[in-house]
């Protein structure tokens, strides 16, 4: 009896130990899950934080206030370079007039300042002969230093800005002639070789034009396909073939669509390279499966009784579908279209092939003008070695993510608002 009791006790203890181990295993397993989710969400946070911290400074720009003497004679002669040089020399009277010194002074402001001065005069000819205070963009090294991205403690040879320039910046600061201002040119210009002048308006317009082509092509075709497959298609081999094709197209890597566009749209049909119309067509082939699949789901969600009731009152099947089913399914198809457009907006790889990753200064004015798109602009700037472009890249990413957020938010809102269970 004692031995039985002992063995009961020992087996009880063993069972307890086992139970403890199993509970620990249970907690460990849960912990793995929490760790996995924390890793993914943590990455997302680090990722967004790093981009915002790199990019928010891209929305402001260091500007320098010059006192410009718009000498009528010099304007007549078109010597804006001399006008600029004079005003810089007045600002820094201590600088010598040697060639190197003059170049160092000119290097304080953006290389495009001369053109800005000319544009100022052309916009307002009455300015000739007067003396004006003008805020102009600082050059990239000055801008980066003023934003604190360059360490002044480094030896002179290891930073892109000289001691003399640092002294001048300090002098400007004392006079209140240097300041961070909202970066208007970022939103009003196309690309530029000078980071301080580069803007994303060209890329935004290019993206808008390409997306317009995509929407106009893929939305009607997508909805028509969905209506056909859901409501009219006979169950036969062709229908099955179409369905298999759509599902496969949804999984084809985007770069393959670029190859298709290059071989067919550019080389066979002779559409223009780098143009929103060709890029938009490729993107519409890519978004077509997304729109078809979500439109089909939306149409399927409408109860058959809607169509049946209409047909019972004498409507034809076409009338029943187009007058009664499609309007009910419209929010769902629209949601699919918006999500498809958001995908197309973020897509870069097929556009590489269509020549839309290009240095384009002019803001495109039409569907056949050379242009680039937002993600392509990000890609281009990320490759540029100048310091200022790193900041511009991150700023452009923030703009891109902003657009995507708005589009996806709209899709979610539509879905929530119109989602109904019949």
């Amino acid at each position: 009896m004692t031995s039985t009791a002992l063995s009961t006790i020992s087996s009880q203890a063993a069972a307890n130990r086992l139970l403890l181990r199993r509970k620990r295993a249970e907690r460990r397993f849960q912990l793995y899950g929490i760790l996995a989710i924390s890793a993914a969400v943590g990455f997302l946070i680090v990722f967004l934080a790093s981009i915002v911290s790199r990019g928010y400074m891209g929305f402001v720009q260091t500007e320098v206030q010059l006192t410009v003497n718009f000498d009528a004679e010099l304007i007549e002669a078109g010597s804006y370079r001399t006008i600029l040089r004079t005003s810089l020399a007045e600002l820094f009277p201590d600088a010598g007039s040697s060639r190197a010194e003059r170049r160092a002074l000119a290097g304080m402001v953006s290389a495009g300042t001369v053109f800005v001065l000319r544009e100022t005069v052309e916009a307002d000819p009455a300015i000739a002969g007067t003396v004006q205070d003008v805020w102009v963009l600082a050059s990239d090294p000055v801008d980066q230093f003023y934003k604190g991205r360059i360490d002044a403690a480094l030896p002179e040879g290891e930073r892109p800005i000289s001691d003399a320039s640092l002294a001048r910046i300090a002098a400007l600061e004392e006079a209140g002639r240097i300041a961070l201002r909202f970066n208007r040119s970022f939103f009003s210009r196309g690309d530029s070789r000078n980071p301080e002048e580069a803007g994303i308006l060209g890329a935004i317009v290019g993206s808008a034009l390409a997306l317009l082509v995509t929407l106009v092509v893929s939305f009607p075709i997508g909805v028509m396909t969905a209506v056909y497959l859901e409501a009219f298609a006979p169950r036969n081999r062709i229908t099955r073939l179409i369905e298999i094709n759509i599902n496969n197209l949804a999984a084809v890597p985007s770069i393959v669509f670029g190859l298709l566009g290059l071989a067919v749209f550019l080389n066979v049909f002779g559409l223009p390279r780098s143009a929103p119309v060709s890029g938009g067509l490729v993107l519409s082939l890519m978004t077509l499966p997304t729109i078809i699949i979500s439109s089909r789901a939306a149409i399927r969600a409408v109860p058959p009784s809607f169509a049946e009731a209409a047909m019972g009152l004498g409507a034809s099947r076409v009338q029943a579908i187009f007058h009664h089913v499609l309007p009910v399914a419209a929010p769902g198809t629209l949601t699919g279209a918006i999500i498809g457009m958001a995908q197309a907006l973020g897509e870069t790889a097929p556009l590489l092939m269509m020549g839309m990753v290009a240095f384009v200064v002019e803001v495109p004015g039409g569907f056949t003008d050379p242009s680039t798109v937002l993600p392509a602009q990000v890609y281009l700037w990320a490759d540029s070695p100048e310091r200022g472009f790193a900041e511009k890249t991150a700023a452009a990413i923030i703009v891109l993510l902003g657009f995507l957020l708005v589009m996806n938010g709209l899709a979610v809102y539509l879905r929530r608002k119109f989602e109904k269970q019949w």
């Binding site: 899950g33 670029g258 077509l288 973020g346 870069t348």
Partner: protein, 449 residues
């Protein structure tokens, strides 16, 4: 702009035809009609618009060829390439771009023919539209079964729209196969699939160093595989464990927040990941390597693979999550009733039941990783190293396609054709993965009643 004028005419005539036809039947109707007045309107519009649009489209496609033939008929005995060159320079001169040595007679001829074509197209399209309208107008009588006719036309349009999916696939396969076939006439398939040397730089001049390109794609495939394996080592465990936690443990409210958060990862444009991998992760990893005494290339496979792994987490987690939630509660309850803990239930009951779906999810994620372009273009290298060392730079299929085809190239060079051969390989591998994944899910899924 002038060339769009016929389209404008077509649209205006179409609108007019609608109202005219509807008014005609409205005036004639006494008895019940086999269609609403609007159907008669559409009937008129269709006759006015469709034939004219077809004529316009056909004209737009063939008139360039005809004009080219007439202009070049003055120059017999040119090779294809010479003819193309000559015609392009004539076109440029006609468009006002200054070029030298262009025969002005041909330029004048081209301009004249183009004007003639535009004017003639305008006249013909307008005529066809008017004729079509009257053809339809004459047939509009109360006996006309307008509703049936219009609806049949609509169904034909719907069918044509749905054929575009097939056409796209055919277009992809044809364009890839044609170029690949030409490539394999220059480079043997055996060399392409089994060669160990990849350096597709074709010499611009005859005497250039390394003049002959090498097209052995094994290093490229190996690089793709290495980066995909790294990505799956990240995405597999994280994605699967997240899915398990979300499906089995998480409170519905937590789940409602976390699931969309994870899906954001799939919605971020890949170029943004590329930026992060190339400009944030890679430099800090190289510095870390210096501290640890390792040589980590600034374009290491590791950086690209890690980031790609993060990107495909949602592809693993979402599908796995869906599959696990669809495992019926009674299976879990049976396991609990036998005394199993939650984790034991998951490991011994839920996961085995969900295995086909999870395998499918992994395969879809792998196919995503193989086809992903921007991350590797920005963060992985161009040099085709045959290595399994994740700290070295490797290249991938998509990187090679992108770099071989970006910029202006002669379209006939081996380089561009090699890109299409890589593209075909990529297309078939991803297609196979997707088809197999779908099959696995369909065939081996448990059915619960």
């Amino acid at each position: 702009m002038l060339s769009y004028l016929p389209l404008l005419i077509i649209v205006l005539f179409g609108v007019g035809a609608f109202y005219a036809s509807r008014a005609r039947i409205g005036a004639a109707a006494e008895q019940p009609l086999p269609g609403l007045p609007g159907h008669y309107g559409w009937y008129g519009t269709l006759w006015t618009v469709v034939p004219a649009t077809l004529v316009y489209a056909v004209w737009a496609v063939i008139d360039g060829q005809i004009i080219r033939g007439i202009v070049l008929s003055d120059y017999p005995g040119l090779s294809d390439a010479e003819a193309t060159l000559l015609f392009v320079s004539i076109e440029n001169a006609a468009a006002g771009v200054m070029t030298e040595d262009v025969p002005m007679a041909s330029v004048e001829l081209l301009r004249k023919l183009e004007h003639l074509s535009t004017a003639a197209r305008f006249a013909v399209v307008t005529a066809v539209s008017v004729l079509g309208f009257f053809w339809g107008w004459r047939r509009i009588r109360p006996e006309l079964t307008a509703r049936d006719r219009v609806e049949t036309a609509l169904l034909v349009a719907l069918f044509i729209a749905s054929i575009i999916a097939i056409l796209t696939t055919v277009g992809i396969v044809l364009s890839l196969v044609v170029e690949t076939f030409r490539f394999f006439q220059l480079v043997s398939p055996f060399e392409f699939f089994f060669g160990l040397e990849w350096s597709p730089q074709i010499a611009l001049r005859e005497d250039q160093v390394a003049a002959s390109g090498a097209f052995g794609a094994v290093p490229v495939f190996a690089g793709t595989l290495l980066i995909t394996v790294i990505a799956m080592l990240v995405a597999g465990p994280i994605g699967l464990m997240s899915a398990i936690y979300l499906a089995e443990y998480a409170h519905p409210r937590v789940r409602a927040v976390i699931k969309p958060l994870l899906e954001i990862l799939a919605g971020i444009p890949t170029v943004v990941y590329g930026f992060f991998a190339a400009l944030v992760l890679a430099p800090s990893m190289r510095n870390l390597g210096v501290d640890l005494g390792l040589t980590i290339s600034s374009e290491s496979a590791l950086a690209a693979g890690l980031i790609m792994g993060i990107m495909i987490i949602p592809f693993v987690s979402s599908l796995s999550d869906d599959i696990m939630t669809s495992v019926p509660m009674s299976l879990r309850e049976g396991s609990y009733g036998l005394g199993a803990t939650a984790s034991e239930t998951i490991k011994r009951v839920v996961l085995p039941a969900a295995t086909p779906g999870i395998v499918g999810a992994f395969m879809l994620a792998i196919s995503r990783a193989i086809g992903e372009t921007m991350i590797v273009v920005m963060a992985a290298g161009l040099a085709a190293n045959l290595t399994a060392n994740p700290f070295e730079a490797v290249t991938t299929v998509t990187v090679q396609i992108a770099t071989l085809l970006v910029g202006d190239h002669e379209f006939d060079s081996e380089k561009t054709m090699a890109a299409f051969a890589l593209g075909l390989t990529l297309f078939f591998v991803t297609l196979a993965l997707n088809v197999v994944a779908l099959r696995v899910v369909q065939k081996y899924s448990e059915r619960y009643d």
